[in-house]
Symmetry: C2
Subunit: 217 residues, 2 copies
């Protein structure tokens, strides 16, 4: 698999969560920040390699081989993110770009040893699960802040948006993985939510509330 093919497989894998009955050319092109014609070309190439099935005009679906390969790339990406945060003093908003490159280095020994060196982490710095060598994910129970119940207390366990902007916003408000919060009030007018942290209270907008994952404590 070339670098470009690996990136497409990963993109299709992520889009399949959202579109389980087939990933459209336009969605894929948007995810890859490229044009629809390029996406078509690559989908045809990956179909030729039996990484996916493609019905023209209907969308693409990963084969077992394609899904396995995508999961492998995701495993590498997330392990490197852990390494960068735990060992090289990167913050959670700095790791993604570098991990996008590291994830393409193809050496089983490298990844297995890295996994052991990091003591077999289960979650990456954004709370996303790291598949094991066999490609199995540890399922993580989580709800999005937007659907949390008023009066209940939760622990922050993940983020959906991993953009630097969003993560820095969270940093500046002392919200990170493990942060405990209680839902004080949901404002029906604009879907903003008032939350209580350990030493402060704050109101977060709907777009924040849709990108923070919580678990009841």
């Amino acid at each position: 698999m070339t670098l470009a093919e690996e990136n497409y497989l990963k993109a299709i894998y992520h889009l399949e969560q959202q579109f389980p009955k087939g990933v459209s050319t336009n969605a894929l092109a948007e995810e890859m920040k490229t044009k629809a014609s390029s996406a078509t070309d690559m989908v045809k190439k990956l179909a030729e390699k039996d990484m996916l099935t493609h019905i023209p005009y209907q969308g693409a679906t990963l084969s077992e081989a394609g899904r396995g390969y995508a999961v492998k790339v995701i495993r590498r990406h997330r392990l490197w993110e852990v390494f960068l945060v735990e060992k090289l003093n990167f913050s959670w908003d700095e790791v993604h770009e570098v991990a996008e490159h590291l994830e393409h280095i193809n050496s089983d020994k490298l990844i297995d040893e890295l996994d052991a060196f990091l003591e077999f982490p289960i979650y990456d710095p954004h709370g996303d699960p790291i598949p094991d060598k066999q490609g199995h994910f540890k399922h993580i129970e989580k709800i999005v802040l937007a659907k949390a119940e008023v009066g209940s207390t939760y622990k922050c366990v993940g983020v959906d948006d991993t953009s630097s902007k969003f993560l820095k916003y969270l940093d500046s408000n002392a919200i990170g993985l493990g942060t405990i919060m209680t839902i004080k009030h949901k404002e029906p007018f604009d879907n903003s939510i008032k939350i209580a942290l350990e030493h402060s209270e704050m109101v977060v907008s709907q777009s924040v509330a849709k990108n923070l994952y919580l678990k009841k404590v």
Copy 2:
């Protein structure tokens, strides 16, 4: 710089040690395991980018910028090799191939933090010096085993050939960086050399003797 350009710069840098008055197209093509016409094309491109000067039919010489870039890639390569050996249990014959890929990941923070994490190593697992952030090498005093004096005692400080075959040969004879040896006899007939290690004696061929670096103790 693209991946291919970085590899060519590194190759030219290494060949300049051997051919200080200019690297020939054929030598470069051989080093890069490609054809002379491809080497010519790349040399012209690198000349266009002011990474080197090229007089047609006469050879290529790195510019300051080109040399600086080559040294940067070498620094990355050797730091990753240290990481693989020190932290991920790679042996010295396994690191080169993976480091060939890792060396192309371009992030100053990544390399500076890695350097600090490894506690600023000065030599890589093959005894080669690691340039610092400014591109300065620590000069290492060493002679090749083939030119060692009979009767003197030396410490092994490096290898020239870093092929897996050669390194595994050394492993199987308990020779590594730091190994102490005394030169017992030089055989004029085939230039083989009898050496005494801590607990054994052995005879090494000329091709081994030309690839082991020593320092008098």
